[in-house]
């Protein structure tokens, strides 16, 4: 666990969605043993650190929830109500101006969200994501980035 020393985590959409699915599963007692372990580990990590997102992550998250809810508005509403307090309210927000994203030509390959995430990294935070390609990009730029599977390894 010593490798997660920084106090701030920038959370990508995939990581957030994975956590939120575990929250839903826990709420309805649908987690198997392995998922239960993952849920505990997520909670342990997230209670020990400040969590940050960028606005694009929330937009992507909403789209993915909509997809998973098969576009049932009542289902999405129910999920968001479950998440709002405390989970969504605890997330702090970072903002990267559009012009800064466009200056980084890699946005053509990675898209706006990934580049904004990379730009939001600094010496005090690290990225938690499910995107291996993004991890490599961030590490090559000198930033710390981890796949969520890394936190589950003892």
């Amino acid at each position: 666990m010593k490798r997660f020393l920084k106090n701030k985590i920038l959370v990508d959409t995939g990581a957030l969605l994975e956590y939120f699915k575990l929250i839903f599963g826990s709420r309805y007692n649908k987690l198997n043993e392995k998922q239960q372990d993952k849920f505990i580990i997520f909670n342990e990590l997230f209670k020990a650190r400040d969590l940050f997102i960028i606005p694009q992550v929330l937009a992507e998250l909403y789209s993915l929830l909509k997809r998973d809810a098969k576009y049932s508005l009542s289902q999405i509403k129910h999920w968001l109500e479950l998440l709002e307090d405390p989970y969504l309210r605890l997330l702090k927000e970072l903002y990267i101006p559009k012009e800064e994203i466009l200056r980084e030509k890699k946005y053509l390959d990675f898209g706006f969200t990934d580049i904004a995430l990379m730009k939001a990294l600094d010496n005090d935070n690290f990225l938690l994501t499910t995107d291996t390609k993004l991890i490599i990009l961030c590490r090559n730029k000198g930033f710390e980035a981890h796949h969520i599977e890394e936190i589950f390894v003892f």
Partner: protein, 86 residues
């Protein structure tokens, strides 16, 4: 009369329940991952007074300290006081 080891187990179990650290992670109670440590023991006529220290999270460097008084006859935790939380 309980032993000191039984008093420690009683204190640990009490803290685990109080803080929700009795849930199991990979087959062990969460508290087992938190470097639970007894930093000082005081022996009074009726109690073992245990000064306990443990990590706040498996990922955290912050620690909490408590004093736990365990009845020597019954093994029941009769008093607990939070000393510090980093």
């Amino acid at each position: 009369m309980i032993t000191l080891e039984e008093a420690l187990n009683s204190a640990k179990s009490f803290i685990a329940k109080m803080k929700g650290l009795d849930i199991e992670l990979q087959g062990r109670a969460l508290i087992e991952y938190l470097d639970f440590d007894v930093v000082r023991k005081e022996d009074t006529p009726n109690h073992f007074s245990l000064f306990i220290n443990f990590q706040n999270s498996i990922f955290g460097s912050g620690r909490s300290s408590f004093r736990v008084d365990v009845n020597k006859e019954t093994g029941v935790v009769e008093d607990i006081e939070k000393i510090s939380e980093e």
